[in-house]
């Protein structure tokens, strides 16, 4: 019940007036799975996902249920909430909370709850750097285990290819002497450091290179990485997935790869090959205005026609005056009124169509409103072009 209330509170926290979008999919797949320390065989999976986007808030729910021979089944579910702060120059931050759990046939499952923070820097429109940390707690095999991760990443868009590189360091506790039972993936002969008698503290680092691109009507994702650790043997991790649209509501999807174990919850890794169908569950309500950038989703918006015009709202912190000019004002500056909470507004007659506009703060230079893509004007300043439906 308390979980439902928390979900409702998160939904209610979405900024008023921000366009919300709900999307989802259900994957149905079949293939082979070779877990590190279990019986390999054919599997059938069903994997629903649901995303809710409203202003700076994202909510994600996903799960996968896998049926294996002999009546064995496994389930993994994840729910995550992410809140993005407004941009400060080239920086913005994300705060997140995530819960992950597994259930299994005749075996107790695992749970993990963590909070996270990330700081992003966007030196250019095509590059991005970030670092962050995650801290929480997991329960597995009847014991509570601390969860601590730190991450550094960078991505760049080169032509149509999006390339990324991440370093993810995980600290965890081994619950038994790692020299006792060496096995394929998770253990080696190198001991960890005793942690006050409750287990052996250790850490591992995953270095991962990823690529995402479109070739014809096919979308590809690929990753390759290496796991480095004092207490587990080094391991190469990789994955390739592809999807092709068959109809607007149906994709053909395939994925193969080598997944690593989770050192915190102790669930094993596996090699897998799955082919299936993805049923897309529609787009839900869509924004009236051009979709703003994730970092500033509610920073600028134009509402539907109401009364004498459309309400224009722009978020500008620490301003004394804010003016708006555009082709719908004959480029005459229109002062916006302060509306509290760093928001400025006006009601203006704006017909549907493609419009060009700019704002000015405290009599300074004209520039594109936050949350819109700046366009260099022929006249030296920056403006934005938006579509109003």
């Amino acid at each position: 019940m308390s979980r439902r209330l928390a979900l409702l509170a998160l939904l209610a926290a979405a900024p008023a007036g921000a366009a919300a979008q709900v999307t989802g999919s259900v994957d149905l797949g079949a293939g082979t799975n070779r877990p590190d320390r279990a019986i390999p065989g054919g599997v059938a999976s069903i994997a629903p996902t649901l995303q809710y986007r409203a202003g700076p808030l994202d909510l994600d729910l996903s799960g996968v249920y896998t049926d294996a021979p002999g009546g064995r089944w496994n389930f993994q579910g994840t729910t995550a909430a992410t809140f993005r702060t407004p941009s400060l120059g080239i920086l913005h931050a994300e705060l997140g909370a995530e819960a992950d759990w597994t259930s299994h046939y005749q075996v107790r499952g695992t749970t993990a709850v963590a909070g996270s923070a990330r700081i992003y820097a966007a030196p250019s429109a095509r590059t991005r750097l970030w670092f962050g940390g995650q801290s929480g707690s997991a329960t597995a095999l009847g014991r509570r285990r601390p969860l601590l991760r730190s991450e550094f990443g960078t991505s760049a868009l080169i032509g149509g290819l999006q390339l990324g590189f991440t370093l993810l360091r995980s600290s965890f506790t081994l619950m038994s002497d790692p020299t006792a039972t060496p096995t394929q993936d998770t253990l080696s002969a190198v001991p960890g450091r005793p942690d006050s008698g409750r287990g052996y503290r250790s850490s591992m680092t995953d270095a991962r290179l990823t690529g995402r691109w479109r070739f014809g009507s096919l979308d590809f994702d690929a990753s390759i990485g290496r796991r480095f650790s004092q207490t587990t043997r080094e391991l190469t991790l990789w994955g390739v997935s592809a999807s092709r649209e068959i109809t607007p509501l149906l994709d053909l999807v395939a994925a193969t790869g080598r997944a690593g174990s989770d050192p915190v919850t102790a669930v094993p890794g596996s090699r897998y090959l799955v082919v299936g169908l993805r049923l897309k569950l529609g787009g839900g309500p869509t924004p009236l205005l051009l979709p703003p950038l994730p970092a500033d989703r509610a920073a600028f918006r134009i509402g539907p026609v109401a009364g004498s015009g459309r309400e224009v709202v722009v978020m500008v912190p620490r301003a004394h005056t804010v003016e708006l000019a555009g082709d719908f004002t004959d480029w005459r500056p229109v002062p916006l009124e302060s509306w509290g909470d760093e928001q400025w507004r006006a009601v203006l007659p704006i017909p549907p169509g493609l419009h060009r506009l700019a704002i000015r703060t405290d009599g300074g230079r004209w520039h594109a409103p936050p949350g819109t893509r700046p366009i260099q004007s022929e006249f030296g300043g920056e403006v934005a072009e938006i579509v109003v439906e």
Partner: protein
Amino acid sequence: MRASRLLLLFLLCGAAPAVAQDRRLADRLDPTTATTVQRVVDSAAREGLPTEPLVQKALEGSTLGASGERIVAAVGALHGQLVRARDALGGGASEAELTAAAGALRAGLPPAALRRLQSLRTGRPLVVPIAVLTDLVAEGVPPEEATRSVLDLARAGRPDDEFMALRQQLRAGREGGMPGPGSRPPLRPAPDPPVDQ
């Protein structure tokens, strides 16, 4: 002598506004710039092109503090882009469509892409698909890839909302950079039970 006087008279007549000067230009621009811009506007009107985008371009320059010379150059360039846009889309295109198409050509998209889009969207407005196409290219998507994505949606008869969603999806993919720590391919089988370490 008489011929040269006649020629001068002809040029003067040609230079004179064909219609009354737009008050907005006269109010906001210096007289020389206003007259020159008005001449371009009149020329566009005679060619059957929309004139309001040209007036707005001049007013934008005025508000952004541009010199008269830059305003005249920008208005002249836009006039040329509108001509190319009309050549691509034909005389039946609306003012908004021509304006959007002019922006697409300025961004480096080929006229053939606009013609193809128009053929796939017969009877339906082109403003949103063209604006999305332009936006994708401006954000770094190669023109061929952007065109293919937009044409795929047009071919499937998708509504404007889905073109907007395409742009949002691409932006989200880039802004998000990499999948988060908890993300996983949905098709990957669920993990087996934990194993004591």
